[in-house]
C-alpha cells in the first residue's frame, strides 16, 4: 500500500471541443441528435453511384429491382419500417419506375417495328372576329362616355366662371405650387414659408393655409383682379417687418432711442387683405426671416463677451462699435392687429428724429447676407463629404480630460457637429455591406459622387432663395474644410479649440460697422486736409468695394506742374479698428481709430514731400545739395515731428539757399551769397579774402514771390540766383 501510485482515469473525449476560454475551461460541442446524425449520414450518400446504377437499369431493367431490394434489406436492418426517409425513398422509387417506363417506350419507338410516333396537330382556336370587334367597340364607348362627362362638367364650370369673370382657383393653385411648398393635409392645403429647406434652423414654423376664396368675395373682387385663392398666414407673421440698423453717437437719455421702433401707419391689416397672395406670402416670409435674424442676433448679443456688454432691450440690440458710437439693430414688425411692438410715443418720436439719423442700408443688407450665408453653409458642407461630421469624443473620453479646456472643447465640438452627424449617420446606417475594412473605406469616400446628386437638388433650392449679388459679405462660416479633416489629420485639442472659434453674426456686423466708421472718418480727414492744404495737391484713390471689412486708399502728394519731378505716395489700409499706413520709404505705421493720428501723419508726409521736392528741383536746376536733415535739432520743439532743413548751393557756388521746414510754422527760405556785398574790412577781419565766406542768411518773403506754388517759387528763385549778377 505504501508505494501505491495514483492513477487518474479519464473517459476519452466523446465530443469535440468547440472552444477553450481564456480561463482554460473547455466548451464541448453538444452530441448530435438523431436527426442531425441522419442528416450527417445522408451527406455521405454517393449520388454519382446511383447514376451508374441508372445506366445499368437502361441496359437491364431487372437489376434495379435487385438494387431496391438490396436497399430494403439494409433499411430493415437499420431500423423499423417507419423510417423517416421512407417517403423520400418512395418518391425516388416512383420516379425511377416512371423513368424506366419512359426508357422502355423510347427504346420500343426507336425500333420502329411495333410503334410509330406521329406529330399531333394542335387544336384550332375558335376565331370569331365580329365578337372581338363588338367587344372593343363597347369598351371604347364606355371610356369615351367617361371622358365626355368630364369634359361637359369642365366646360360647364368654365362657362360659369367666364360668365361671372372669376379667376380660376386651380390655375392659381398651380401658380402657388410653382413658387411655394405646398402639401395636402387632412383638412386642406397647407404650405410652408420657412427657410428650413434652405438651411435655416429657426424653430418658428411658417405654416400657412390655402383656401378657396368664397364665391361672393371673389365675385366682388373679380373686377379688381382678385384671386380665387386665399392664404391664411399665422398672425405672428402678418404685417410688415424689417431690420433697421442705425449707427449713432451715444445718446445719454434712453428715451431718444425709441426712434428706431417704427413702421408704416396703422390700418395695414385691411390693406393687407386686399393684397395678392403672392405679396402676402412674400411679406410673411420676410417677417419670418427678420425674426430669425433678430433672434439669432439677440442670442449672440447675450452670449458674446464684449468689453462693453451688448444690450438687448425689447426688440432692440445696442452694441458699442467705437468709443462714443453705438450700433442699434432693431426689429420693426407692424402687424396690423396688435400694436404692442410699436410704442405710441415712438411714432411721434420718429417724426422728430427720423430725419436726424438715417438708418444704414448697407449694413442691413449685410445682415441679410450673413444670415443667408449661414443658411447656405448649413446645407452645403464642404468636401470631402461623408466624413463631415466628426462625432467628437465619446462621453467617457470627455470625462477622461475633465479640465475646463477639454470639456468646453468637447461641448463646443459636439454642438457644432450635431447637425452633420444626423445626416451622415443616416447615410451610414442605410448602406455599407462591404467585405473588408479597407474596401469599405475606399467606397466610403467614393460615395461623394452619390452625394453630389443631392447637392444638385440643394443647389436648385438654394438658387430659389439666394438671389445673386455682387456682394462679398460672405465670411467663412460653418464647419470649415480644415475642421472636416481634423480627425484624419489627428488634430490635438489645442488645434481643435482653435478651429472651433467661429465668428457670430453680431461680431461680423459690428466689424463691418466699425470699418464703415473708420472708412468714413479717414475719408473725412483726407478730404479736409486736401481742402486745407492747397500747395502740394493731395489726391486719394479709394479702393473700397472689395471687402466689407477692409479697404485701402492710395494717397498721392504732388505739386501742380511738378508731379514728374517728385511725387510722394503712401497707402493706407483701413481695417476694423486700426489703420495701417505704408509710406514711401517702406515704413509701416499702425494707427488707432483716433483721427488725429492720421491727420498728423499726413501733415508730416506733406512737409517731407516739400523737402524732397525742393531737392529734386534743385538737382534739375544744377544746384548742389550741401546738406539736408530731416530731423533738425535746433529751434523750438515741434508739437508733431521734427523740423527739417536743407542747404543748396548754386552751380558756381556763390549763392546758397537754406530751407527750413517746421510743421507748425511752415516753410522758411533763406538766401546768402558770396562774395558778400556788405563786406567791409574791420580791425579784426582785415583781409579782403574773407568776403568770399558766405554772408548772413536773409529770409525771403515767400508769399510775396511770384509763382503758383512753393516749388514754382523755388524754381524761379534758383533761376534768378543762378544767373551771374
Amino acid at each position: 500500500m505504501a508505494n501505491s501510485v495514483n492513477i487518474s482515469i479519464e473517459a476519452p473525449i466523446e465530443n469535440q471541443i468547440q472552444e477553450i476560454t481564456y480561463d482554460g475551461q473547455e466548451i464541448y460541442q453538444a452530441p448530435l441528435s438523431m436527426s442531425e446524425n441522419l442528416a450527417r449520414l445522408a451527406q455521405k450518400i454517393d449520388f454519382s453511384k446511383s447514376e451508374d446504377e441508372y445506366c445499368n437499369i437502361k441496359k437491364e431493367g431487372e437489376t434495379s429491382v435487385e438494387v431496391k431490394s438490396d436497399e430494403d434489406s439494409k433499411e430493415a436492418g437499420y431500423q423499423s419500417s417507419q423510417w423517416p426517409w421512407e417517403s423520400v425513398r418512395n418518391k425516388l422509387r416512383n420516379a425511377l419506375t416512371e423513368v424506366c417506363v419512359l426508357a422502355d417506350v423510347l427504346s420500343i419507338a426507336k425500333e420502329k417495328r411495333y410503334m410509330v410516333l406521329d406529330p399531333v396537330q394542335p387544336e384550332q382556336v375558335e376565331n370569331r372576329p365580329m365578337v372581338q370587334v363588338y367587344g372593343r367597340k363597347k369598351a371604347l364607348a364606355a371610356a369615351a362616355a367617361v371622358l365626355m362627362a368630364g369634359v361637359d362638367r369642365l366646360r360647364a364650370s368654365e362657362t360659369m366662371r367666364t360668365a361671372r369673370n372669376m379667376p380660376d382657383f386651380h390655375i392659381d393653385l398651380l401658380r402657388l405650387r410653382q413658387n411655394w411648398r405646398l402639401k395636402k393635409g387632412s383638412t386642406g392645403i397647407v404650405g410652408d414659408l420657412s427657410y428650413r429647406t434652405a438651411g435655416s434652423k429657426f424653430n418658428q414654423t411658417g405654416v400657412f393655409e390655402v383656401t378657396k376664396a368664397a364665391e361672393e368675395a371673389t365675385a366682388g373682387a373679380g373686377a379688381g383682379g382678385g384671386a380665387a385663392l386665399r392664404v391664411a398666414v399665422p398672425p405672428e407673421l402678418q404685417g410688415v417687418a424689417f431690420i433697421s440698423v442705425l449707427c449713432q453717437k451715444e445718446v445719454v437719455c434712453g428715451a431718444e432711442q425709441e426712434e428706431v421702433a417704427t413702421a408704416a401707419a396703422g390700418g395695414a391689416a385691411e390693406a393687407e387683405l386686399a393684397l395678392h397672395w403672392q405679396q402676402r406670402l412674400e411679406a410673411a416670409q420676410n417677417v419670418l426671416f427678420c425674426k430669425e435674424l433678430f433672434a439669432r442676433l439677440a442670442a449672440e448679443a447675450v452670449q458674446l463677451d464684449a468689453s462693453i456688454p451688448h444690450m438687448v432691450v425689447g426688440n432692440q440690440i445696442m452694441a458699442t462699435v467705437l468709443p462714443g458710437i453705438q450700433l442699434l439693430i432693431g426689429l420693426c414688425h407692424n402687424n396690423g392687429q396688435n400694436n404692442s411692438n410699436t410704442h405710441p410715443e415712438s411714432v411721434k418720436a420718429e417724426g422728430a428724429a427720423g430725419g436726424k439719423s438715417e438708418h444704414d442700408h448697407v449694413l442691413e443688407h449685410s445682415l441679410h447676407q450673413l444670415l443667408r450665408a449661414v443658411h447656405h453653409a448649413n446645407t452645403h458642407h464642404p468636401f470631402p463629404h461623408p466624413a463631415t461630421g466628426p462625432l467628437g469624443p465619446s462621453k467617457r473620453r470627455c470625462v477622461a480630460g475633465t479640465h475646463s479646456l477639454h470639456t468646453t472643447l468637447a461641448a463646443h465640438y459636439t454642438r457644432c457637429t450635431l447637425h452633420s452627424l444626423h445626416t451622415t449617420l443616416a447615410a451610414h446606417y442605410t448602406r455599407c455591406t462591404l467585405h473588408s475594412l479597407h474596401t469599405t473605406l475606399a467606397a466610403h469616400y467614393t460615395r461623394c459622387t452619390l452625394h453630389s446628386l443631392h447637392q444638385l437638388l440643394r443647389a436648385v433650392h438654394h438658387a430659389n432663395t439666394h438671389h445673386p449679388f455682387p456682394h462679398p459679405a460672405t465670411g467663412p462660416l460653418g464647419p470649415s474644410k480644415r475642421r472636416c479633416v481634423a480627425g484624419p489629420m489627428a488634430a490635438d485639442r489645442y488645434e481643435l479649440l482653435e478651429m472651433s472659434k467661429e465668428q457670430s453674426l453680431l461680431e461680423q456686423i459690428i466689424q463691418q460697422a466699425q470699418h464703415f466708421f473708420m472708412r468714413r472718418r479717414s475719408e473725412y480727414v483726407l478730404d479736409t486736409i486736401a481742402k486745407e492744404v492747397k500747395d502740394p495737391l493731395i489726391v486719394s484713390h479709394w479702393n473700397a468695394l472689395n471687402s466689407p471689412t477692409q479697404s485701402c486708399v492710395k494717397i498721392n502728394i504732388m505739386a501742380y506742374g511738378y508731379d514728374a519731378v517728385c511725387r510722394t505716395s503712401l497707402v493706407v489700409h483701413v481695417g476694423e479698428k486700426t489703420l495701417k499706413c505704408i509710406c514711401r520709404d517702406g515704413r509701416v505705421r499702425h494707427l488707432s481709430y483716433e483721427l488725429q493720428e492720421l491727420r498728423d501723419l499726413i501733415y508730416c508726409q506733406i512737409y517731407q514731400h516739400q523737402m524732397t521736392a525742393v531737392q529734386a528741383v534743385g538737382r534739375c536746376m544744377g544746384w548742389q545739395l550741401l546738406a539736408s536733415s530731416s530731423h533738425l535739432g535746433s529751434g523750438p520743439v515741434e508739437p508733431l515731428g521734427n523740423a527739417s532743413s536743407c542747404l543748396l548751393a548754386s552751380p558756381n557756388g556763390d549763392r546758397m539757399i537754406a530751407i527750413r521746414c517746421e510743421p507748425s510754422v511752415g516753410i522758411q527760405v533763406f538766401i546768402a551769397q558770396s562774395p558778400r556785398k556788405d563786406f567791409f574790412a574791420s580791425e579784426l577781419v582785415q583781409d579782403k579774402k574773407w568776403e568770399n565766406l558766405g554772408g548772413a542768411f536773409k529770409e525771403i518773403k515767400l508769399e510775396k514771390m511770384e509763382g503758383k506754388n512753393f516749388l514754382n517759387k523755388m524754381e524761379l528763385l534758383m533761376a534768378c540766383l543762378s544767373s551771374p549778377s
Binding site: L391, A400, H428, C432, L437, P488
Partner: protein, 208 residues
C-alpha cells in the same frame, strides 16, 4: 505635437498601482509640474472571420490627446497599415461586425493623470484590461521638437531623473527605425499598441 516616449514602470511586490502612481505624482509635483486633467488611451482589437482568408487583426485606438480622431492599425502578417479617421470610424466598425468580431475580453486602456512641466507633458497611466490592473505606463512628451533623434538625449535624462536609476531607459522599439523622421501622433499610438500587446501576452497564456 512633439516627440513622445512611452516607458514601462515596474510595480514592486506588495505594492498597488495607485500607490506607485501617487509616488510618481508626488515626485513630479515636487519638480514643479501642474496637473492638467486626466488622459485616456484605449485599445480594442477586432479579429477577421475565417471566411476572409488569413486572419487579420484590426486594433482601434483612441487617444484623449486627439479627441476627434480614431486610430486603426491593421495587422496583416508582416505589414502594419494604419488609418487615422474621425469619430465615425467607430460606427463603421460596428457595421462591419459580420466581418470583424470584437474581442471584448482584450479591451485594454491606460488612464491616469496628465501633468505639464514647462515644455514637457507627462502622463502616468495605469493599464487595465477588463478592470484588471496590468501595470504602469509613463508617457513623456517634449513638445517643441518633432525629431526623435534631436531630443532623445533630453528625454532620456528627464526620464532617468524622474524614474530613478533603477530603471533602464531605452528608446522605444518603434522609434528606433524612425529616429530621423518627423514624429506624428500615430507614432505614439504604435508605441501604445506595442506595450498593450505585451501586456496582453503576459496574461494571455491561458487563452493560447
Amino acid at each position: 505635437m512633439g516627440v513622445t516616449v512611452l516607458q514601462q514602470y515596474p510595480v514592486p511586490e506588495h505594492k498597488t498601482g495607485t500607490y506607485v502612481i501617487e509616488l510618481l505624482t508626488k515626485r513630479i509635483l515636487a519638480l514643479g509640474a501642474t496637473q492638467q486633467g486626466q488622459f485616456l488611451v484605449d485599445c480594442e482589437s477586432y479579429l477577421s472571420l475565417p471566411q476572409m482568408g488569413s486572419t487579420k487583426t484590426v486594433h482601434i485606438l483612441h487617444n484623449s490627446e486627439q479627441p476627434a480622431s480614431v486610430f486603426s492599425i491593421l495587422e496583416s502578417g508582416t505589414k502594419n497599415i494604419h488609418v487615422i479617421a474621425d469619430g465615425l470610424f467607430d460606427l463603421l466598425m460596428m457595421k462591419l461586425s459580420q466581418h470583424y468580431t470584437s474581442k471584448k475580453q482584450t479591451k485594454i486602456e491606460s488612464k491616469g493623470p496628465r501633468f505639464e512641466l514647462g515644455d514637457f507633458c507627462v502622463k502616468f497611466g495605469s493599464v487595465t484590461m477588463n478592470q484588471n490592473f496590468k501595470g504602469i505606463l509613463i508617457e513623456v512628451e517634449y513638445r517643441p521638437c518633432v525629431m526623435a533623434n534631436a531630443v532623445w538625449g533630453l528625454l532620456r535624462e528627464f526620464l532617468q531623473g524622474l524614474l530613478g536609476p533603477s530603471i533602464t531607459v531605452q528608446p522605444p522599439q518603434h522609434l528606433l527605425s524612425r529616429m530621423n523622421e518627423i514624429y506624428a501622433p500615430i507614432d505614439t499610438i504604435y508605441q501604445y499598441l506595442e506595450h498593450f500587446s505585451a501586456y496582453r501576452k503576459v496574461t494571455g497564456l491561458r487563452s493560447a
